[in-house]
Amino acid sequence: MKRGIHFGWMLSICLLISLSFMDPECQADERKPVIILAGFESRVTCIDAHITEGNMLPVVRETLYEKLIDTGKYTIRDISDETQHIQMDEKKLMDELGEGRISPQLKKDADFIIYGYLTHISNVKAQSGVLGIRGKDVTVSLELTLRVVDARTGVVVFAAKGDARRKSELKYNVILSRNDKGYEDAVENALRIAAVNLADEMIRMS
């Protein structure tokens, strides 16, 4: 009788300990890290193209989101679901992250938060020729970086860089003449390619 009571107590304690270590979400996701894609912002101030969070940077976020989710290695959550969930507006959330503050709700729901930047964009012009026979090409060159933040500690555990180049102007006059221009399109294409490179870099290193 006494033995039975002891056994019962010990079994209950062991079960309680086991249950406390179990996390239903982790098991459901097969322990894939849950990543929240917070968004991208620009660190560049002096540029001709109008690149803002509401304009071109969503291209980067969407491309990165698609690439990362395709790998099947992570559970990716977009910030819009999260913001609905915790009833905060995206701008406020990103500002808070930028200041190093992580919402308690995010700490609970995510393992990592990705926060990205447009770090560089420029137009490099190369030209050569003499009177009547000359050529010029202008290349848009841009770089993106991202930081992966541990949602529980706030420590930046990983960073990656992706870059891209696209011709924004091509003009020559030798035998034939050609004059192509399209700065905004070149920037958008370069952003998309840089985002793909950034995602590849992250997948490769993880």
Partner: protein, 283 residues
């Protein structure tokens, strides 16, 4: 006998229950460490990226440098770099004393301590904050002992120690973040000069001839041995675009582009040097 029998029974029951618990219990969640290959690498905390020279750069430049450096260190091999947090990875507040936390201020102090004891410290080209710290810590006369300074500079790879009290504080920070090394970068000098401007017929900012020079020092503090390794890199970049009446030649780029290219080279130099002398640092 009865007690012994009870003990045996209890032990057996305990072992069986432990086994049952192990089966029920899922394996501990390890992806936080394993994510991004971090588990088995030596960890470096990139504590500060700032300028303590008499030139200053925009904070965005330091931020981008920090991102690139962390990416490059982790990519190259056995070391993994991390940053303190999203908002203060370069310790902007600690360097400039605006809303600095005690940890921010201490990181700035550790960096200054590493600089003033290092081989590259030049009293005449330092920021005011650093000069004040050097006077207080080492004494002004030290920097006018030309022979001693010259002898010290002639052994650039010799490791050295921080002030003991500062080292104690560094240890506390390293324990907080669970790292083996602290790293500090002093981007002390960036110089942009226009050249041959009389040939630059256009005035857009990217068409002028420019020459850029940049130099930085970096410090690795080994938390186990308490010794400091100091590295140094100098880089140059020239861009020239000529628009004469009948001849057009060259390649033009703006200052941001040049800075970016110089930064890439600096990051490569730092990472190569770090890995080349990693064994030296690890001792």
């Amino acid at each position: 006998m009865a007690l012994k029998g009870d003990d045996g029974y209890m032990k057996r029951t305990f072992y069986i229950l432990c086994l049952v618990a192990c089966i029920i219990m899922p394996p501990s969640v390890t992806y936080a460490d394993g994510f991004m290959n971090g588990a088995s690498k030596h960890t470096i905390l990139l504590a500060e990226v700032q300028s303590y020279g008499d030139y200053e750069l925009k904070s965005e430049y330091f931020q981008t440098f920090a991102d690139e450096l962390i990416a490059a260190i982790s990519e190259k091999g056995e070391f993994k770099a991390i940053g303190r947090n999203l908002s203060n990875m370069t310790n902007e507040a600690g360097r400039h004393d605006e809303t600095a936390t005690p940890e921010d201020a201490m990181i700035s102090k550790i960096h200054m301590d590493a600089i003033v004891h290092g081989h590259q410290f030049d009293y005449g080209f330092a920021a005011a904050k650093l000069i004040r710290y050097a006077d207080k810590t080492v004494g002004r006369n030290h920097f006018y002992d030309d022979d001693a300074v010259k002898a010290w500079r002639s052994q650039p790879k010799v490791l050295y120690h921080l002030t003991p009290q500062v080292m104690e504080e560094a240890r506390k920070i390293s324990m907080k973040y669970g790292v083996e090394y602290l790293m500090f970068v002093n981007m002390k000098d960036v110089d942009v000069r226009l050249k041959h401007t009389m040939f630059a017929s256009r005035t857009e900012r990217e068409t002028r001839g420019k020459k850029m020079k940049a130099s930085l020092d970096y410090y690795i503090v080994n938390m186990q041995s308490g010794r400091v390794y100091e590295g140094h890199t100098d880089n140059k970049k020239t861009a020239q675009l000529l628009n004469l009446a009948i001849v057009q030649l060259g390649k033009g780029m703006d200052v941001d582009m040049m800075l970016n290219q110089v930064m890439d080279t600096q990051v490569n130099d730092v990472v190569n040097d770090l890995y080349e002398h990693a064994l030296l640092v690890s001792r």
